[in-house]
């Protein structure tokens, strides 16, 4: 049994493909040929590293939108994890979903929608079971050197969150229609993320690397010039 950090996962679930190669999350670490990766994505991701391991895809976001009307994935991911393990029955899974959401104080119809979502996710996923724990050692213990004043937790590289591509959070994508836009700059002002800049003529340009898809811009645009599409670029 492993607790806390899982070093030798039987299976790994990833909510969005963009996290697959995140430097700090490193979800693929410790995976072996007999472990399974589940990726929430409507289509396959073609990346070299993924060729060596077994990958299952499922469009949980699509299902969540269908059943709950929102991209809330916890019930769906939980159900998939239960089924993959081959250890937890459908009944226990749905019971747990119901209990967790009731504790959050959600209304019964929302809980019911989530239970339906969990059920469909459970039934549409195959079971892979847990793999054994006999594994080759991955780690070596090293000595930590004293770095003096370089070993102080000060951050000198300011304004560097741009390295984190929060665009992967986006489920819906705002798109500016240049024909309707009057360059009033309202969307630029209200974007909480500083993800909209203005070009030399004053028209908004959206930074899709970081836009989280909150759609404040869409709501605030007085010309209805920002339309919305389901995001697929990250799949």
């Amino acid at each position: 049994m492993e607790r806390g950090h899982i070093f030798n996962p039987s299976y790994v679930l990833v909510t969005t493909p963009s996290l697959l190669f995140d430097m700090t999350v490193k979800p693929l670490e410790g995976m072996a040929e007999d472990s399974v990766l589940f990726v929430n994505s409507p289509k396959e991701v073609s990346i070299e590293q993924l060729k060596k391991i077994r990958v299952i895809y499922g469009d949980l976001t699509g299902l969540a939108l269908k059943y709950v009307g929102k991209d809330i994935l916890s019930a769906a991911m939980g159900a998939v994890a239960c089924k993959l393990s081959g250890l937890i029955s459908l009944q226990s899974t749905l019971g747990a979903v119901e209990e967790e959401l009731a504790e959050l104080g959600l209304e019964t119809d929302i809980i019911e929608k989530n239970v339906q979502l969990a059920k469909e996710c459970y039934l549409s996923t195959e079971s892979v079971g847990l793999r054994g724990l006999n594994h080759k050692p991955l780690h070596k213990v090293v000595e930590v050197r004293y770095l003096g004043e370089k070993g102080i937790p000060d951050l000198l590289s300011v304004g560097n969150t741009a390295l984190r591509k929060t665009g992967s959070w986006r489920v819906f994508k705002p798109i500016v229609d240049k024909n309707l836009c009057t360059a009033c700059s309202i969307c630029y002002i209200y974007c909480p993320e500083a993800c909209i800049s203005l070009d030399e003529r004053g028209y908004p340009v959206i930074n899709y690397d970081h836009c989280k898809g909150c759609l404040v811009c869409t709501t605030e645009c007085p010309r209805n010039a920002i339309r919305v599409e389901r995001e697929t670029a990250w799949s």
Binding site: S157, N160, T161, L198, T219
Partner: protein, 309 residues
């Protein structure tokens, strides 16, 4: 005030001091306030922070700010500001530091740190006449820990620790602490409320405050889609509704003298604001709780009757 710098939205400064990529929720009102507030403050700022949602914007090794940042501890961000301000002053006075290295010292905290655990340190700093800014991003609960009630949570709201039950149909039964009045009672040079929906009002207030030496305190309504249970796209709209219903008065106090900077000509019913947020859902479903809604409306009306006479 001789020149009014901010007249239309075209005057909003273009320089960004807060870059994208923070881990804060999509549609976070606090983040939006900070971004605009920083534009009005300009550069050469050190933010001094107490534990809250915005703490997570700078987690090692990333910070979205092009300015400096110092996370302190939950109860004592204003005291942290004191140490920085005093150190800069004494080092400049002693000739150990070039005056061009000086910075504006700006405390930013949530309402829990401002109204509860950090109130003592805030009172101390204001009383000592510390030359600093305080921006409280008020999302009316402890958002970072999962939206438990703070003393800034409004009566009638449901939070993780004030869930509505048959014994407590209102959810939170305590009134929202009036931080504006607590701050104002110290008679600092400048106190103001701001809203992310009323950008020009916000920028003008920051601009005005820059001319004062001493405490300059801002209470910003900060819609929190996660805790309030609203669509992320509705953040600005909610802030606007809070102002238009009169729930969030826009005002300032210069050395204690209060002026309302915006008086809604015809206030919308508070219901318009309440019914679009899950934290107030129990006031409408399964049956509408007319008496609590009426009580909230009454409090707002009473407030404005004193303003309008």
């Amino acid at each position: 005030m001789s020149i009014i710098k901010y007249k239309t939205l075209k005057d909003v400064p273009k320089e960004e001091f807060l870059v994208p990529g923070t881990p804060l929720c999509a549609g976070c009102g606090a983040l939006q306030v900070m971004r605009l507030f920083h534009k009005a403050l300009g550069g050469d700022v050190v933010w001094v922070n107490a534990a809250g949602c915005v703490t997570l914007m700078a987690t090692f090794p990333y910070t979205p700010l092009k300015s400096s940042w110092f996370y302190i501890a939950m109860p004592s961000a204003p005291a942290g500001a004191q140490g920085i301000r005093d150190a800069l002053d004494i080092l400049i006075k002693k000739g150990k530091l070039d005056p061009t290295e000086n910075l504006k010292v700006v405390v930013v905290t949530g309402d829990g740190a401002a109204s509860d655990i950090g109130l003592q340190a805030t009172s101390g700093a204001i009383h000592r006449g510390l030359d600093f800014f305080y921006l409280c991003v008020d999302n009316e609960a402890y958002g970072n820990t999962g939206f438990q009630a703070s003393s800034s949570s409004p009566m009638g709201s449901g939070t993780a620790t004030t869930k509505p039950t048959h014994l407590y149909p209102a959810g939170n039964v305590l009134p929202k602490k009036d931080l504006f009045e607590i701050w104002r009672s110290h008679r600092p040079p400048y106190v103001a409320t701001i809203s992310p929906s009323h950008v020009i009002d916000m920028l003008r207030k920051v601009e005005k405050s820059l001319s004062f030496k001493g405490p300059k305190l801002f209470l910003a309504l900060s819609p929190c889609p996660t805790g309030w249970g609203a669509e992320t796209s509705e953040s600005v709209k909610l802030a606007k509704l809070a102002v238009e219903t009169g729930i969030w008065p826009l005002k300032e106090a210069v050395y204690g003298e209060v002026t309302h900077t915006y008086i809604p000509s015809k206030r919308k019913p508070v219901e318009d604001y309440l019914k679009v947020q899950r934290r107030f859902a129990h006031l409408f479903k399964p049956v509408k709780n007319e008496s609590i809604i009426a009580e909230i409306q009454k409090q707002v009306d009473e407030y404005w009757s004193k303003v309008e006479h």
